[in-house]
């Protein structure tokens, strides 16, 4: 495969992080229990207000509410990203052993996670950037439990690193979070499903062709029969 590089396209600019989150919010079904990781995944919560979707925070909170406003700050009420939040009618609090029983026990319908790399098989690397120079040490947090425990894993990430390196690869080169765990990848250019046959390109943002997404992706893509423009 020729060198993969970030290219400038004449059409629409790549999606903002908030729009990646919106595309994912539109994928969630009413009645779902969902855990949102740090970064772009957290932004999904901005798009589900009023919907029947319950957010779990692995610190030990179900039906986690929106971010707290000035004056509502309470250091005993934070989400797993250490942001002050509100509770809502029906919220519950519990300990971390119960929280991870929910996660490993198969109660989480969806986990939306950030990623540094995703492989063609759906391997996820998201906890350790080798450039930081900490070797095998890093912040694992709840990512490994979520990756193996959630019924569906959606990755929310940009298509390239800040240095323009591709993040979707035949094999991950960074330390893994879990093997073959990713179901769907949503980036600022495309929506790609991980299947037994390989990566299936289902949607691209307006003005970007399937060929152009392939040029930007360091793993082979199968173009879906119903490949279409991403709607937001």
């Amino acid at each position: 495969m020729s060198k993969i590089m970030k290219i400038t396209l004449p059409g629409m600019p790549p999606l903002e992080r908030e729009m990646i989150a919106l595309r994912i919010a539109n994928m969630l079904e009413d009645g779902a229990y969902v855990n949102l990781g740090i970064g772009i995944p957290t932004l999904v919560s901005n798009w589900i207000e009023g919907r029947d979707i319950i957010i779990q925070s692995e610190i030990g909170m179900l039906k986690c509410g929106p971010l707290a406003e000035e004056g509502e700050i309470d250091q005993d009420r934070i989400n797993a990203s250490c942001q002050f939040v509100r509770d809502m009618p029906g919220t519950s609090y519990f300990n971390v052993e119960t929280s991870f029983a929910m996660i490993r026990g198969g109660c989480m319908d969806v986990a939306v996670l950030g990623a540094l790399q995703v492989s063609a098989r759906g391997d996820l690397a998201g906890w350790n950037t080798p450039a930081r120079g900490l070797g095998k040490r890093g912040n694992i947090g709840g990512s490994m439990d979520l990756a193996v425990g959630a019924k569906k894993v959606i990755v929310a990430m940009e298509h390239f690193t800040t240095n323009g390196e591709p993040k979707i690869l035949t094999e991950c080169s960074y330390p893994l979070t879990a093997k073959a765990c990713v179901d769907v990848i949503v980036t600022n250019y495309a929506l790609i499903e991980v299947t037994a046959k390989g990566l299936v390109l289902r949607e691209a943002i307006p003005g970007v062709s399937a060929e152009e997404v392939q040029k930007m992706t360091a793993a082979p893509l199968i173009v879906a029969e119903d490949f279409h423009e991403m709607e937001l």
């Binding site: 740090i38 030990g60 250091q75 005993d76 934070i78 250490c82 439990d145 193996v148």
Partner: protein
Amino acid sequence: MDKVYSSVEAAIEDVFDGAIIAFGGFFSAGRPAALTLALSKRGVKNLTVVVQQVGTGNEEMLELVVNGQIKRAVCNYPFPRSASKGARHPFEQAVRKGEIGLEIYPIGTFVEKLRCAGAGIPAFYTAAGAGTVVAEGKEVRVFNGIEYLLELALPVDFAFVHAWKGDHEGNLVYRFTAQNYNNAMAMAAKVTIAEVETLVETGGLNPNFIHTPGIFVKRVVETGKPELSGFSLGGI
């Protein structure tokens, strides 16, 4: 039965060099700030600390780092999220220099190791970490076609926990997300020391709503509420 101590200093008087100590708290919420500061003043060394992260949200732990009291840390999210903050962070620097040894587990594994220690279960299998560096050196077993790792229970000598309310017999109630690891750590320890924001008379807590029953708690000391961590205002 009365487990109340008059001061944090008295409550930790027998903490010894080389002890394994678990600290409750998820970033800033539910951290035993007063007990941690008392430990830094006591100056015992070669400690193994079992705690989500060292010095991010629980800045009191940095005193132990700077004093050179920590030999080893068992964590799940040890470092600041940002690499540039990490480059200035005493704990990360001590780990990079090899002054503090570090073991890392996924959160679910970390807390289950503690819970199992308290529940008389020596080891358990979990799928978290299979096929990753976490699996190195561990027994792998396949159940129903899925790989699981054998993880060992993690008993500790002392647990420092923080509760909203406690009574004289050690029954504890936590507030909102400040529960986090405090219950599992209280179960895992030979000696659990609870700092409570408000001490109530025995009988003063609703018995339907006790989070940690007093049998898991040896000592109780009233400390009030810890100050808001400056870190927590920004999130990670």
